[in-house]
């Protein structure tokens, strides 16, 4: 009996109407939020951007217009002109709150499981493969987190550190996986909703991790990174429980 599999409705479901301009806005906003594009940086010229995104000039201009309206980029005229990143996109607190309300504890635990798997191997490979200059860079990125003064700056500083750790492991696939995982949770981690996350201890953990990488201690590095992720996930679960289910202690009635 050639029975169809249960996946059919998943595979053949209608494709979403992706608005290409919106997709560009999302792509650039996320890149800035993750620290892949920095404030002050100039975007490539419009012709090059339409080419790379594979969209027409009108669509690109619509996207840039939206980014300007959000105050994320600014277009300056003249010889040294162009489109510049001027601000960190501010995560909408309502978006973050909605994420916490719509994501279950089991799903948050599962994100942590995947992140643990990716990070454990990443950091072991980093021990083997990182060079002295990688270590210096990681150290600098680790310190950037404690120097950041607002939650909007902490999120990209934190994710940048983890992404660069994967870069120092020399694996494009692990780097992609790390970027995807960071996109999923880093804003939630640093938005002080309801409890702020402590940048000092996160930085201390990052620095200890860099030391283990520098000294090529894979066992120790793996243990540290797993504890680090576990603490992040606990924070997210705590926030979820506090936002989603206020503690209702009974008075014994």
């Amino acid at each position: 009996m050639a029975s169809p599999t249960s996946f059919e409705p998943q595979i053949y479901r209608p494709l979403p109407e992706i608005e290409r301009a919106d997709a560009i806005v999302d792509r650039i906003t996320t890149a800035i939020a993750l620290g892949l594009l920095k404030v002050g940086e100039r975007l490539p010229p419009e012709a090059a951007l339409s080419d790379m995104f594979g969209v027409g000039g009108a669509t690109l201009r619509e996207a840039l217009g939206e980014l300007r309206e959000r105050g994320v980029v600014e277009t300056r005229r003249g010889r040294s002109g162009g489109t510049f990143v001027v601000n960190q996109p501010r995560p909408q607190p309502t978006t973050i709150r909605d994420w916490f309300l719509s994501t279950s504890v089991s799903e948050i635990r599962d994100i942590g499981d995947e992140h643990s798997a990716i990070s454990a191997t990443t950091v072991r490979l980093a021990c083997e493969r990182a060079e002295a200059h990688d270590v210096d860079r990681l150290q600098e990125l680790a310190r950037a987190l404690v120097l950041a003064t607002t939650p909007e700056e902490r999120a990209p500083a934190d994710s940048r550190f983890h992404i660069e750790l994967a870069v120092s492991a020399q694996s494009p696939r692990l780097t992609d996986a790390e970027i995807r995982l960071q996109e999923e949770t880093v804003q939630q981690l640093w938005t002080p909703l309801p409890v702020p996350f402590d940048p000092e201890s996160a930085t201390a953990e990052h620095l200890e991790l860099v030391r283990a990488v520098a000294q090529d201690q894979p066992e120790k590095a793996q243990k540290l990174v797993l504890e680090h992720i576990r603490r992040n996930i606990f924070h997210l679960i705590d926030a979820k429980l506090t936002l989603g289910y206020a503690q209702s202690v009974h008075d014994g009635q």
Partner: protein, 235 residues
């Protein structure tokens, strides 16, 4: 030491909710059996005509019990006429519509769903009692992280299959978390193999196994026949 009032309160609320689900599953299994016996008349094995009406029965179950994401019946292969359907399962789709779920039931195929070997079927078959299996990732089945309640049914005295329902873990959470959050200390609902179904803090996370031996860990067995559930809590 005696459990505090809040623990007793939570245990009672959980017991009552779970027994409510069990009663619904017993009823579904009884209705499936009655329907089959009526349809079969003199025939001994389940065939296409014997399944008439199961569709309406299951849809009605899913419409009434919104906690369930899927429901229906799995038959013992021996009870079914060669070439007839062995699974009648419906699930609630994203849109809210209820649709039939098809599985790959070809032995030897790469995506073969060998349900007779899965505990929700085999345990119900050997014990003759209702079972609760999960949380588990229902690979090749519904393909989500679920709990399955299943009750065996017989046709003319012979075991013929199980009827049951799936509850998605993420759907279960908002339904029973308020009860667990009524306990001020760390607490969790655990299944018969000491696996966490839901915890009220980051200490006990769904899917984890509780290792015995912690002195300040207490257990209260829930009065839910055959399901083997308990409430654990720290002091």
């Amino acid at each position: 030491m005696n459990p505090t009032t809040e623990v007793v309160h939570a245990a009672n609320a959980l017991t009552s909710w779970i027994n409510g689900v069990s009663t619904e599953i017993e009823k579904l299994s009884r209705n499936v059996a009655t329907r089959l016996e009526k349809n079969l008349v003199d025939k001994s094995k389940v065939d296409k005509t014997a399944l008439v009406g199961l569709d309406a029965l299951t849809r009605e179950f899913l419409t009434r019990n919104t906690f369930a994401v899927g429901a229906g019946a799995f038959f013992a292969t021996d009870a079914v006429e060669e070439g007839s359907r062995t699974v009648e399962w419906w699930s609630r789709q994203e849109s809210g519509a209820i649709g039939r779920l098809d599985f790959d039931l070809t032995p030897g195929s790469q995506r073969y769903y060998d349900y007779e070997k899965l505990p929700f079927f085999s345990t119900a078959a050997t014990t003759g009692k209702q079972t609760l299996w999960g949380p588990y990732v229902d690979y090749l089945g519904f393909e989500e992280y679920v709990l399955t309640f299943a009750a065996p049914f017989s046709v003319r005295g012979t075991f013929a299959g199980v009827a049951g329902c799936d509850i998605r873990i993420k759907d279960l959470e908002p339904l029973i978390m308020p009860n667990l959050r009524g306990i001020a200390s760390d607490a969790a609902l655990v299944n018969a193999s000491n696996r966490v179904i839901l915890g009220n803090s980051g200490l006990y996370l769904v899917g984890e196994r509780i290792k015995p031996g912690s002195p300040d860990l207490h257990r209260m067995t829930l009065d839910v026949p055959h399901l083997g559930l308990s409430l654990i809590y720290t002091t």
